[in-house]
């Protein structure tokens, strides 16, 4: 185990020296996402014959893959199917498309407010994530590193705040937003999202800050650095992966929000993508499945792109938050 780890750590360095920065970076991207994990096979796995492996491993995996991915296949397929084929199952096999079209997507982009919704979602999620990250970094540093009296209790309270679901809060929160004059405004969401992002990010970052050696801080403190300087110049650069995980997670969490956006926003041009897709594109009894699936697809893409770049951080964030 230790042997394979050390080999693994050397690889990117070697490449960085010989092939320059870009190659090193590319190889790390490769390793990060799609490379084989360095784990060794479990116990006696090498004794298992090939046919047996197909039946006990690849077949079940295939079934999982089909079930888990079929809805996305169906979503994409519907989004690019010409109207004539969409409901005509007799003449065309529904599982394939003949002569795909972009008309649903162009309709969505240019004949609906989709781009406005996308802009709103982007704006709200980025601002809320940025605010939450700054606030959480400070809180997590305070709880984990300054360690005042009662910091453990504050840490646990923050954890408790994370498990309060929006379903309990949205009704009184609607009233709060009316009183603040933010009802039916994008700012209502910018203000609300940090309530679930901050507890999450703080909890996640506490785990990352814990791993930074105290000695670094001691030296800086004795050299007369303030806590603020230490946080900015020493802790933050070392907590990079933690920040990325927290940021990605916060972004996807806020992009995923439905209840608050549905409750607080009623004007069509201020809606976020999930809410607008469900409330504005669904009209009457005849559903426009083409544009609807195009919207579902386009609304998922920002999150999926974001996610695919940082899969490992995402998984680390998810499991980190669960484990911590």
């Amino acid at each position: 185990m230790t042997h394979s780890m050390s080999v693994d750590e050397k690889v990117p360095n070697l490449e960085e020296e010989s092939g320059g920065r870009f190659v090193g970076w590319m190889s790390r991207i490769g390793q990060r996402n799609w490379g084989k994990d360095p784990e060794e096979p479990e116990g006696t796995d090498y004794l298992v014959s090939l046919p047996r492996r197909v039946v006990t491993l690849w077949l079940p995996l295939l079934v999982f893959a089909i079930v888990l991915l079929f809805p996305f296949y169906w979503m994409v397929l519907t989004a690019i199917k010409p109207n004539g084929q969409l409901l005509n199952y007799q003449k065309y096999s529904p599982l394939w498309v003949h002569g795909p079209t972009l008309s649903h997507i162009t309709h969505l982009l240019f004949h609906t407010d989709f781009l406005t919704w996308l802009g709103t979602s982007m704006f709200v999620c980025i601002v809320a994530t940025a605010i939450s990250l700054v606030v959480s970094v400070m809180a997590a540093y305070s709880i984990q590193r300054i360690r005042f009296r009662g910091s453990a209790m504050v840490g646990n309270l923050i954890f408790l705040a994370y498990v309060v679901p929006p379903s309990i809060l949205f009704i009184p929160m609607a009233q709060v937003m009316i009183n603040l004059g933010l009802y039916n405004s994008r700012w209502a969401l910018v203000v609300t999202y940090p309530t679930f992002l901050i507890p999450f990010c703080t909890w996640l970052l506490m785990g990352y800050f814990k791993s930074i050696p105290y000695e670094l801080e001691e030296v800086a403190l004795m050299d007369g650095a303030t806590r603020w300087q230490i946080l900015r110049k020493i802790v933050l650069p070392l907590a990079g992966p933690g920040l990325i995980s927290a940021g990605i997670f916060a972004f996807t969490l806020s992009w995923n929000d439905f209840l608050y956006a549905l409750t607080f926003i009623s004007d069509s041009d201020k809606k976020t993508v999930p809410v607008a897709t469900l409330t504005n594109l669904v009209q009457g009894d005849v559903y426009q499945w083409g544009p609807l699936m195009a919207a579902a697809l386009m609304g998922s893409i920002p999150v999926v792109i974001f996610y695919s770049f940082f899969v490992r951080h995402y998984v680390a964030g998810m499991t980190g938050a669960v484990k911590e």
């Binding site: 169906w74 606030v135 400070m138 300054i146 504050v154 309060v164 809060l169 609807l292 998810m318």
Partner: protein, 315 residues
């Protein structure tokens, strides 16, 4: 736990004090101020926008407030009304059914997938990334795709079933209460299984190989190894994943709202969707708040469980 650690990391190293004040004293005073200042933004936001609404929610549930006009204290009458309301009772039943059934299957299927992904595999990273998609894609958007998959006339599932000779007529997935219940439960299992799988996989990877090897040496079958080595080692992460999932499944809103909106005939409402229908669509804030309050006891019980599980860990 942390009360005494204040001095430990700093006091250990000697050093020259600053001019005038001994640096240790200065540092500690500085630290207290810094700790408070650093925490302040988080505390203000959480108290103002999480703590206050929570209390306001309890208060609202005890009044007869509507969206249009402010109300008065009416005691527990919202609650006494609710417990006799058949729609509310159905919602409670649905919520419990939804939570219990889907967590059971999410755990079983998630464990199966985690065990598969923990084997020696090509493309393991790719598979793990792709299998997580149902969890990553915004619930509402994938739920709309499922809504289309469950279409009464053009359901692709019915079409496949008929072509394979399994059924003879289209299934009306969302048309009858029980069909609709099982359908949304199935979608929730679909969405949540990857979360269980990836979390359990992370747990599996921390099980020391030597334990399995030792069990192997002692002649344990693979079932025995799973039952007596893997499962006990995973108990911590399992407890946490299940409690998290329990909280967010019990209080779920998006999935059911997107697919059935509580229909047909209010038969698939969960507590959260019914609360939304009463409070926001119906304008009856207080009754909606009272419905949402029924989530609290479960939240409380489940959280206490995790809380003790988590706080036992040293951090």
């Amino acid at each position: 736990m942390a009360a005494t650690t204040e001095e430990v990391p700093i006091g250990r190293t000697g050093g020259s004090p600053g001019p005038g004040v001994p640096w240790r004293v200065k540092l500690r005073n500085d630290s207290r101020l810094a700790a408070i200042l650093f925490l302040l933004p988080a505390v203000l936001i959480l108290v103002g926008l999480l703590g206050y609404p929570l209390v306001l929610g309890v208060w609202l549930s005890l009044t007869n407030e509507t969206l249009a006009e402010s109300g008065q204290f009416v005691g527990l009458s919202n609650f006494t009304y609710l417990v006799q309301d058949p729609v509310f009772r159905t919602a409670v039943f649905n919520t419990v059914l939804y939570t219990v059934v889907s967590i059971f299957f999410k755990y079983i299927l998630g464990m199966a997938l985690a065990l598969l992904l923990n084997r020696k595999l090509r493309f393991k990273g790719l598979l793990r990334a792709v299998f997580l998609l149902p969890w990553v894609v915004p619930t509402v958007l994938s739920a709309i795709a499922w809504w289309w998959i469950f279409d009464s006339q053009f359901s692709i599932l019915s079409w496949i079933g008929i072509h394979m000779g399994l059924i003879h007529h289209n299934i009306n997935f969302l048309g009858s209460p029980w069909n609709a219940r099982w359908s949304v439960i199935a979608v929730d299992i679909w969405r949540g299984t990857p979360f269980f799988a990836i979390s359990l996989l992370a747990g599996l990877q921390t099980v020391p190989k030597s334990l399995h090897e030792a069990a192997d040496m002692d002649g344990a079958t693979s079932w025995q190894r799973f039952r007596h080595v893997t499962l006990p080692m995973l108990s911590g992460i399992t407890a946490i994943v299940v409690t998290f999932s329990a909280i967010f499944t019990f209080s779920d809103f998006s999935l059911v709202y997107s697919i059935t909106r509580g229909g047909p005939n209010n038969a698939t409402h969960l507590l959260a969707t019914l609360a939304y229908q009463e409070a926001i669509q119906g304008g009856n804030l207080s009754e909606g708040a009272a419905i949402a309050m029924f989530i609290v006891p479960v939240l409380f019980a489940v959280t206490l469980l995790t809380y003790f599980k988590v706080s036992r860990r040293k951090w």
